[in-house]
């Protein structure tokens, strides 16, 4: 018994040692891909003029691929503009990443991790569910957050502290429904989403609303989490005589669906949402006859200067190529991450202070011309005023998209 007690005491001591290790490690710089300048700039982290911006992203779990790419855009923006002038004093911007693991129960602890680090504002997250779950934590700490690509209406509704720079699902669902009608004369749409995923379900129901309002018919199917067999669903879609398949799902599922559709020889066009704008998806569609269309925030070539600089960053920065999924195709989420960082800097400049409350007050009036278009916030929820979505299709060469059309909804 004595030995048990001693053992527990010793193990507690060991863990306390680790705690101390945590204290010792307080000089950590963000992320795996910090450039040499960023880290040397951080060398003076003991110095006083540092403003911390939290990065709330999924680095593990289902949405990790998107989270990494979004963060990459922010890191690039950080390497381009590493400082900000606040009230005449130059501050170094430090990005503090926190991994929300793509799940709503870890989102809360990841968010409070950022709060405890004393960040002035937060960017993120990729994925709406985690953003909704973390909203109250940022709200009660009085820290403003800018949603980068979380498109669900509930992220900002009822939360004063959450802003966002992307379009919303009602808009995106309508755009895609209109596109399906215009381009393919679609009468029957087969919608496939993940059970229990806020994002999929929301988007599908907005798509359904718009599509049935225009006289179409919708068949919905949901697969359970961790499912990998989509053959039955795809065959079912074929049998039902669907004109389009609408599948706004996470990247890992999208790659499965596309490669299985290819081997089944599905010749129905597949429509996806912004999540499918990812080079892993392109890779899966490589050398197949799949017709894949996605709606998104940015199309490569929209801003050549950004494209060039960002590609160079991906190819040179430590670990960036790996985080981008192995090649230098630019994802729209990276462009959005880049814009979000710059919007954050604009807000800090406008506030003239590093105080979260001041930044939040200043955010309402911030406008910024980013690589993904003009960004301004509405007065109701702090949503971006956006009326354009890019629709592009895969060229099936494994690395590139081609712009199909730019859709607007009045």
């Amino acid at each position: 018994m004595m030995k048990k007690f001693l053992a527990s005491a010793l193990s507690a001591a060991m863990l306390l040692g680790l705690l101390a290790g945590c204290g010792g490690g307080s000089t950590s710089t963000p992320g795996s891909t910090s450039t040499p300048d960023a880290s040397s700039a951080d060398g003076g982290s003991g110095a006083e003029n540092v403003i911390k911006i939290g990065v709330f992203e999924p680095f593990t779990g289902d949405s990790a691929s998107g989270g990494n790419k979004e963060y990459l855009g922010m890191q690039y923006a950080n390497s381009v503009t590493p400082t900000v002038e606040v009230g005449g004093v130059e501050y170094t911007v430090e990005l503090v990443p926190s991994d929300n693991g793509s799940t709503t129960d870890k989102a809360m602890t990841a968010a409070s991790q950022l709060v405890s680090e004393g960040v002035s504002m937060v960017l993120g997250s990729y994925g709406s569910g985690v953003s909704i779950a973390a909203g109250p934590t940022f709200g009660s700490a009085g820290i403003p957050a800018i949603g980068v690509t979380c498109t669900n209406p509930n992220v900002t509704a009822g939360n004063d502290y959450y802003f966002r720079i992307c379009f919303l699902d009602p808009f995106q669902g309508t755009v895609l429904a209109n596109f399906a009608m215009d381009k393919f004369d679609a009468q029957v749409a087969y919608c496939l989403g993940e059970t229990g995923n806020e994002y999929d379900q929301g988007l599908i129901s907005y798509f359904e609303q718009a599509f049935t309002a225009a006289g179409g018919q919708v068949i919905k199917a949901f697969y359970p989490t961790n499912n990998s067999d989509f053959n039955s669903y795809l065959t079912q879609a074929q049998q039902a005589g669907a004109d389009v398949i609408f599948t706004p799902v996470s990247i890992a599922y999208a790659t499965q669906i596309i490669s299985q559709a290819a081997s089944l020889g599905v010749d129905i066009p597949i429509l996806g949402s912004d999540t499918l704008d990812d080079n892993k998806v392109l890779e899966a569609a490589k050398d197949t006859d799949i017709q894949l269309y996605v709606s998104t925030f940015y199309q490569e070539g929209g801003n050549p200067e950004f494209d060039e600089g960002f590609k160079e960053y991906i190819n040179t920065a430590d670990g960036a190529l790996e985080a981008n999924g192995g090649n230098d195709t630019i994802s729209a989420v990276s462009a959005m991450g880049y814009d979000a960082y710059n919007v954050a800097l604009e807000a800090i400049k406008a506030a003239g202070s590093v105080d979260p409350a001041a930044i939040k007050a200043a955010l309402w009036d911030v406008t910024y011309d980013g690589v993904s278009g003009h960004i301004a916030f509405d007065d109701v929820n702090g949503d971006a005023v956006r009326d354009t979505a890019y629709i592009k299709h895969s060229t099936n060469d494994g690395v590139s998209w081609e712009l199909e059309t730019v859709q607007t909804v009045s």
Binding site: M1, T29, G31, D42, T103, A157, S205
Partner: protein
């Protein structure tokens, strides 16, 4: 006679410990308000410490409820996440404020539940609405979980060991699917999470301007968890508890002694599920939402892990293990997810890192070698641990001498790798868990007794 004395002493000690804990939590949380900014940063209200404490309180209740079933009754059930889900959803459905129903159930045009418990008692802003509404919702969460446990228990409790485990695991999965089913959307909000429910933060007492004057957000989960655990402990020390233990030791013998197996198993199953449901409701409060996707078998495994690490059949073991587990995974190891770059080879942080690393390696190795001082094949185990420790020390020495400023390997995901390695080490070297089937109080008292004996001699 001795047994009784011991348990009385234990009860008194437990009571004192609980009271001290509660006071400590309130003081800790309000220290920054009392002393201003003089407190160290980990005591600020935004600190990760309080997140860990809250989650620890919630999880320790669930862990203890699982221990009641697996450790004290010997029923191997893996349905805990399912019962937590029931509790969480019951709580969330009943407490969404009327004003928020439209936004929360936005896909279904409002909720089919035309009332909200806190609103019935005057709204979540008033003390009565908050305390009565929330308490009632939590209680109902537990009751719903217990009711389902009863229904599930009727067919499956006849099954033995692993078959029972897989059947309960299956029921948890079925419950999850039902709650994600679209046609139930007006009640369960389909797959979407139910948000805007009263959380722990609502228990902070604010003045007219909305400034917090007394923080009780950590106190509340502790209070509920301690109350529930106290009830479980009393149950275990009652005649029912002795019957449970008899069933654990030997079902046939227990039956021969006149214990009604079916009745006692069902009782244990329902009570355990009740507290898992209460834990689920608290968990929903902790994460600010209820979503079925979260309550997977992974969560059950996590809790089982905690129970076994703490010691099967030890309440205090479960509690201690919970806090260590939560703190380790959510707080202490988080720095491993980020690259660590020191400004120069002579930076004081770098020295601290090296020293701490070396100390941790030496301490851990010493502990492990000392644990394995008896039994067969000990030499090889000790040699292996020593070898690993020496290798790690050699690396840190090299790192110290080479003047490198960047710690290798650290990037996203490394935290979980290290965490799983720590778990494996604990599992392999602490076979019966940290406390075995002893309680903390037993260990403390027996130690004092031993000391007393020595003094007498």
């Amino acid at each position: 006679m001795i047994q009784e004395k011991k348990s009385k002493k234990g009860a008194a000690a437990g009571l004192i410990l609980a009271a001290v804990l509660l006071i400590l939590v309130v003081v800790l949380e309000n220290l920054s308000a009392l002393l201003g900014n003089a407190v160290p940063s980990f005591l600020l209200p935004t600190s990760q410490l309080f997140v860990v404490l809250k989650k620890g309180a919630v999880y320790s209740l669930v862990a203890v409820s699982m221990n009641l079933l697996n450790g004290f009754t010997g029923l191997f059930s893996l349905g805990q996440a399912g019962f937590m889900l029931l509790g969480a959803y019951t709580y969330a459905i009943l407490t969404v404020p009327m004003s928020a129903k439209e936004t929360v159930y936005y896909l279904y045009g409002g909720s089919a539940v035309p009332f909200s418990l806190p609103d019935l008692f005057g709204g979540a802003d008033t003390p009565s609405g908050l305390i009565l509404g929330v308490a009632l919702a939590i209680l109902l969460g537990g009751c719903v979980a217990a009711l389902f446990a009863f229904l599930i228990g009727l067919p499956v409790l006849r099954l033995k060991s692993d078959y029972l485990a897989i059947a309960t695991l299956g029921f948890a999965e079925i419950i999850r699917a039902v709650f994600q089913w679209q046609p139930l959307g007006p009640i369960t909000n389909g797959a979407n999470m139910i948000t805007q429910i009263p959380t722990f933060n609502n228990f902070n007492i604010t003045d007219a301007n909305g400034t917090v004057i007394l923080r009780l957000s950590t106190f509340f989960p502790f209070l509920v968890a301690i109350l529930c655990i106290a009830i479980i402990v009393m149950l275990i020390n009652s005649s029912y508890g002795r019957a449970f233990k008899a069933i654990r030791e030997d079902e046939i013998a227990a039956e021969a002694m006149g214990i009604n197996l079916a009745k006692h198993k069902m009782l244990s199953f329902c009570i355990s599920s009740f507290f898992a449901g209460v834990g689920g409701a608290l968990f929903a409060m902790f994460v600010n939402n209820a979503q079925a996707k979260v309550y997977t078998s992974t969560m059950t495994y996590e809790i089982l892990l905690i129970v076994v690490i703490g010691g099967i059949g030890s309440i205090s073991g479960s509690c201690i293990a919970t806090f260590l587990y939560v703190a380790c995974s959510e707080w202490w190891l988080r720095f491993l997810d980020n690259t660590m770059q020191f400004s120069s080879p002579s930076a004081p942080e770098r020295t601290t890192f090296i020293v701490v690393f070396a100390v941790v390696v030496v301490l851990a190795a010493a502990l492990l070698i000392w644990r394995e001082r008896r039994g067969r094949g000990v030499f090889w185990k000790q040699a292996l641990v020593a070898l690993l420790a020496v290798a790690l020390l050699a690396w840190i020495t090299w790192f110290a001498l080479s003047g490198q400023t960047k710690v290798p390997l650290l990037r996203t995901g490394f935290r979980m790798v290290v965490f799983s390695v720590i778990i494996m080490i604990v599992v392999l070297f602490f076979r019966r868990g940290m406390l075995g089937d002893k309680e903390l109080t037993d260990i403390l008292f027996s130690r004092r007794k031993a000391v007393g004996k020595e003094a007498a001699q």
